[in-house]
């Protein structure tokens, strides 16, 4: 008994202490700070104004190098998104030249964009991007879900309960503001890179894209790097999860239903099993049969 108990205590102790006992390999990863997002939590929804501002930042700053090829112009008018009207989305589409064809002469041609078209990428392929930049700027369609960071035990338990799924936007926001003009002592940067506090390898090939007053906002929001960073992150979260609003709304309905249904099932179960005591003769599945003893 005592031996058994001690074994368990020892095992638990070892397991819980292992993080401390184990030598964590040194990786000076600075975790991005958590921001408040309108779309966080069980009742989260996107802020339409923020998405529209984020679209502006994307178009005026990011689209020079980064594609958004999984987002269609019609998505801009879809429910749960930036909330443009169909006509406005059409107008945005028409500003772009989309390659189409072949025509009857067998040639590819350019035409103005339509709702069904997707945001064109600045480069036709990876090789063209690499030839221009010595690096490939990733497409941003799912970047908000493609960037995350681990938070050790017990933080991930809290994250599970508080529904923290905004690692991507927090990372992008931090990255945009994480540039430092001078790297820390002893760090040499490869040529063509700049130092960024939040980029895991710290030497980032992307120069700081944002600066104050870079993009004009017509709704009075501050034209600061911090605001741009938040707006582009929210926009990219929408680009990655356009159905987030619907998912959380349906989720609430499903949850309420399941809780009610589980409650009903619980009381039904109690009622049914009460019969076991009341009417023992009813509960047997078959007439009594002699079983050989175990």
């Amino acid at each position: 008994m005592i031996l058994g108990r001690s074994i368990i205590v020892a095992a638990v102790a070892v397991t819980l202490l292992a993080p401390a006992l184990a030598q964590e390999p040194s990786h000076e990863e600075t975790l991005p700070p958590k921001n408040r997002w309108s779309f966080a939590g069980p009742f989260g929804i996107f802020d339409r104004g923020q998405l529209q501002r984020g679209l502006k930042v994307y178009r005026e700053v990011c689209s020079t190098c980064h594609g958004l090829k999984l987002v269609a112009f019609r998505d801009l008018a879809a429910p749960g998104g930036p909330g443009f009207t169909t006509a406005q989305a059409q107008a945005i589409a028409a500003e772009y030249k989309i390659q189409d064809g072949p025509n009857d002469q067998g040639e590819m041609f350019e035409r103005s964009g339509r709702l069904a078209d997707y945001f064109p990428s600045p480069f036709p392929n990876e090789q063209a991007a690499r030839a221009r930049f010595n690096a490939v700027p990733p497409d941003l369609s799912v970047i908000a879900k493609a960037r995350g960071f681990e938070r050790g035990f017990p933080y991930w338990v809290f994250d599970l309960i508080t529904q923290y799924q905004e690692q991507g936007p927090d990372y992008v926001t931090a990255l945009m503001q994480g540039y430092e003009a001078n790297p820390p002592a002893g760090v040499t940067l490869p040529p063509g890179t700049v130092y960024n506090k939040y980029f895991p390898a710290h030497a980032l090939a992307m120069p700081p894209p944002l600066s104050d007053q870079r993009v004009e906002y017509t709704d009075g929001a501050p034209t600061t790097v911090e605001q741009y960073a938040k707006d582009i992150s929210a926009f990219l979260m929408w680009a990655a999860e356009p159905h987030l609003d619907q998912r959380k709304r349906v989720g609430m309905q499903v949850f309420i239903f399941l809780i009610i249904f589980a409650g009903l099932l619980y009381f039904t179960k109690k009622k049914v099993w009460h019969q076991v005591e009341l009417h023992p003769e009813k509960l047997r599945g078959r007439p009594p049969v002699e079983y050989p003893s175990a």
Binding site: D75, K145, Q163, V254, F255, T268, K269, V276, Y291
Partner: protein, 427 residues
């Protein structure tokens, strides 16, 4: 020991003329009646016994969502990633179907592990349930293979590199290892041919699983359920009809399980996944940490704990196959851990070891992580190969009750006595 077979009782008497006609030609209604309605179920089952039903439910969920996703998914290396995004964005409720299927795999494995540990604790693998247990281990193996191939299909960075790492394991086989790997790949590296065949097999294996589940349930019904006291039913007073008693209890916990499932699907759908899998597969760039999904982590830890490649792969395989030997490794005459106090302690240590191995599997194989993984791996195998055989011989067990009904009515009152005060209700 076998105390009933499915055909040996009076049971189903259809009153409806059509049912009588059908029953004479294909007695399927009678089969359902005897197997799931009047089937005698031990009356002392606790909620750990609902996970078999939950597993069947999860299998159905995965198959239905899987077939429906297959209507939109494109299994070519160039299209796979985008087709999954197409499902998420354009297909009606595609986002829901995809998240249900992806998180459903986790819920499937969670239920499987709970079901397995229930078996370990209560001795459900012991005579006469050895074949039932082995079929269960086969099901676990099929689930592992199916889940692995499914994870490759979105063709993200983790999909590609997990496929590369796991298929490369087979190169450890002496002499023919490299040929096996090339054969699995259908090429010189993981690529389009690999993806296509994994898709075909991922679609096929769940139906193989259905077949083995049928055998598993058949084997169960021949010998009957185990129960928390580990003693066989002796009289009809020890059992209740499956419907409505077990049915309603299973349905209740199934819904509670669905609440947990819904929490993941609707609110934290990417929590159990890895963000790197939203990066399209790039054969030229390896992710910094290749990590499998959580349900493979303990096995991954065991694999990496052994420094030798072939021995590591052998240990990985052995960690699953040793489960099949369990009915013969455990020498105890007493089934249930309720009456085996010393075994209980070792069981809980084993549980902590498995969780610990899972945690270690997510860590880089460096420093003290490797040390602990080795210690835990030793305990894992020692539990089956050393502890259980020895324990059965030396343990002082408690006396199991004489019968289930005696165990249920601990105060010794006969069945049929007016209902005692509520705090004595056992169900």
């Amino acid at each position: 020991m076998v105390h009933q077979s499915m055909n040996a009782h009076p049971s189903y008497q259809p009153k409806n003329a059509f049912m009588q006609w059908l029953e004479r030609r294909l007695p399927i209604a009678g089969l359902i009646y005897s197997s799931f309605i009047v089937y005698p179920t031990p009356r002392n089952l606790n909620y750990w016994w609902t996970f078999g039903g939950i597993l069947t439910f999860m299998l159905a969920v995965q198959i239905v969502t899987g077939v429906v996703l297959a209507m939109h998914y494109m299994p070519s290396a160039g299209d796979a990633f985008d087709s999954v995004e197409h499902i998420m964005r354009d297909v009606n409720y595609g986002w829901l179907l995809r998240y249900v299927h992806a998180n459903g795999a986790s819920m499937f494995f969670l239920a499987a592990y709970i079901h397995l540990f229930r078996g370990l604790y209560y001795g459900s693998y012991k005579e006469p349930r050895e074949v039932l247990w082995i079929l269960g281990v086969i099901l676990l193996l099929l689930m592992i293979v199916t889940g692995f191939m499914g994870y490759v299909l979105p063709w993200g960075q983790m999909s590609y590199w997990a496929a590369t790492v796991i298929t490369n394991l087979f190169s450890a086989v002496p002499l023919v290892g490299e040929s096996i790997v090339t054969w699995l790949w259908g090429g010189y590296a993981v690529g389009g041919p690999t993806l296509n065949r994994f898709y075909a097999l991922h679609y096929l294996l769940p139906f193989v699983i259905v077949g083995v589940v049928v055998l598993h349930i058949w084997a169960l019904h021949v010998v009957g359920q185990n129960n928390p006291d580990g003693i066989e039913p002796q009289t009809a007073d020890d059992t209740v009809a499956f419907t409505p008693y077990a049915t309603i209890k299973d349905a209740f916990l199934m819904m509670v399980y669905c609440i947990l499932f819904a929490w993941f699907v609707f609110y934290v759908p990417n929590f159990l996944g890895h963000s790197d899998n939203y990066i399209p597969a790039n054969p030229a760039v390896t992710p910094t940490h290749i990590v499998p999904e959580w349900y493979y982590l303990p096995f991954y830890a065991i694999l990496r704990a052994i420094p030798n490649k072939l021995l590591g792969v052998t240990a990985l395989a052995a960690s699953i196959f040793v489960l099949m030997l369990l009915p013969w490794l455990d020498t105890s005459k007493v089934r249930s851990a309720r009456y085996r106090p010393l075994y209980r302690q070792f069981f809980w240590v084993f549980f902590i070891v498995c969780v610990g191995l899972g945690w270690l599997g997510s860590k880089p194989p460096e420093g003290n992580y490797v040390l602990f993984a080795r210690i835990f791996t030793v305990y894992y195998f020692a539990f089956f190969v050393v502890i259980l055989p020895v324990l059965g011989k030396v343990e002082k067990t408690k006396l199991p009750p004489k019968s289930i009904s005696q165990a249920v009515l601990r105060h010794g009152m006969p069945i049929g006595t007016p209902a005692p005060p509520p705090d004595m209700h056992k169900a």
